[in-house]
Structures are given as structure tokens and as C-alpha cells.
């Protein structure tokens, strides 16, 4: 063994005697933070079916709101149509002429 190898061995032996530094237990709050981050990172992505179901729900809600907001306009349009039918119907006019 060369002198350098011998001195290296002595150096390594001395280094081995150094005590490991610091406390090995987890610092306060570390495990809580890591667990929260882990589940946040690993939250499963919503499936296509679930997304489609949510979209259908939102679409139904929007349709109901639209009907609610335009209710008077819709019923008014039906009433106008019946009035027009009563006055402009050629059959009723012919019947009226005959009577």
C-alpha cells in the first residue's frame, strides 16, 4: 500500500468517527405538509363520463333559467297565435259568410 493510500485510510477512519449530525425525526408540521401535498398531487383526474354528466346538469340548469326568464314572452306568443287563428282563418270566414 502506497503512503497516500495509507494516509487516505487514516483519514477515512477518522471521518467515520464523526457522529451523525442533527435530529432524524421529522420536523414539526413536515409530515402534515407532505401528506397534504401528496394527495393534492395525486388527486385523480375526473373521468369523461363524470365530466359529461356535470356538463348535462349545467345545460339543464341553463335551459330552465332561460325558460323562466322568457316565460311571459313565450306564453304571449301562443296567445297571439290563437287570436290570429280566430280572425284570419279562411274556413271560419266562409262559415261566417254562409250563416
Amino acid at each position: 500500500m502506497s503512503p497516500h493510500e495509507k494516509s487516505w485510510q487514516r483519514l477515512v477512519e477518522a471521518a467515520r468517527k464523526a457522529r451523525p449530525s442533527g435530529d432524524e425525526s421529522a420536523p414539526y408540521g413536515f409530515s402534515t405538509r407532505v401528506a397534504a401535498l401528496a394527495f393534492e398531487h395525486s388527486r385523480p383526474a375526473p373521468s369523461f363520463g363524470r365530466l359529461a354528466f356535470r356538463a348535462a346538469g349545467v345545460a339543464c340548469l341553463l335551459a330552465l333559467v332561460a325558460v323562466g326568464l322568457n316565460y311571459s314572452a313565450i306564453t304571449g306568443a301562443f296567445e297571439d297565435d290563437s287570436a290570429v287563428a280566430a280572425t284570419d282563418d279562411p274556413v271560419s270566414e266562409v262559415v261566417n259568410l254562409g250563416s
Binding site: 487514516r10 477515512v12 477512519e13 467515520r16 432524524e24 425525526s25 401528506a35 401535498l37
Partner: protein
Amino acid sequence: MPDDQSFDLAGCLDRVRKRDQIAARELVEHLHPLVIRIVRAHLPRRVSEEDLAQDIFLKMFTRIDQYQGSVPFTHWVSRIAVTTCIDQLRAQKRRPELRWADLSERETDVLDSVITNENDVAPDDALAARELVGKLLDQLKPEDRLVIQYLDLEQKSVAEISQLTGWNQTLVKVRAFRARRKLQRFYRDLIEKEKP
């Protein structure tokens, strides 16, 4: 402690897979000593040990469904820890050449002592010796550094290193041989070329 027999690791893993946050916290606390020892042994410069430990645990949770039980869970976690440390060391790329002027007064005293004296280094100088060895190891590639750290400083067997790293035993021996040769060259250069 990872060796604690009272800890129900299998039960805890089952609960973690069901996304039980309390079980995840227990697992982190149980494995922290193991992970922090690996981090401290291979800590890259300018990287916080807590940040590195957190990265290791997050990787562990991300891959926990891949754990099949073919190796002990602590070995599986050790491999993640070792790989993460090596990746961090690789990211730093630059491995500074060690010069005599970079050594502290205590470290030069230790080096003088091991070169000139046949006697052991004083126990008070053990920490300086460890820091000096660490500086010499910093010049090696991360994988080489790890092998020497485990073999020479922690006195682990080739089989143990193989289990901890996932490298086969032949690879460990080859890396150890090459790493020792490089380290001897760095050490010789420091003493012959740099020593005033």
C-alpha cells in the same frame, strides 16, 4: 424508526392507498429517519435537506401503487431517495476541483496529521475529517460518490449497496474500483500539487 417492529407497515400502506391522510402522515414520520440519513449522506451543495426529503416523499406517494412487495418497502424507498439525490447532484453538473486554499485550518491540520503521523486523528477532529472527505468526494460523479460513501464511510457491504440502489453487485464493484482510482488521483494531486 424504519426497524420499529410495532409499526404496522402493511396496514399503513393499505390505508395510504385508500388516500387516508393520517396514514400518510404516519408513514412519513416512520420513514423520515431512513430518508434523512440518505439525504444527509448525499446532500448536494446549496440544497435544503428538508426540500430534498419532501421531494423524495412526494415521489414515494406518486409511485406507491407501483410497489409490488418484491423487495422490502424500506429498500424501495431507499432507491427512490438515492435516485433523487443522484439526480440533484447531476443537475449541479459542476464538480469543483478541490484546492488546498479551499480547506479550513482544521481540515489542513487533519490532512497534515494523516500524512505525517502514524497516530490516529484526534477524536475532536473527526468532524473536520468528515468534511474533508466530503469535499474530496464532491469531485466525483454522483454514482461514484455514492458508492464510496456507502463502502468506505458507512462500511456497507456490496450486497447491501446493491439492495439500496438497485444496481447489481458487479456494477457496484466496478463503480467502486473506478471511483477509488479517481479519488486516489484527486487525493494525490491535492497533496503533491496543492500542498504549500
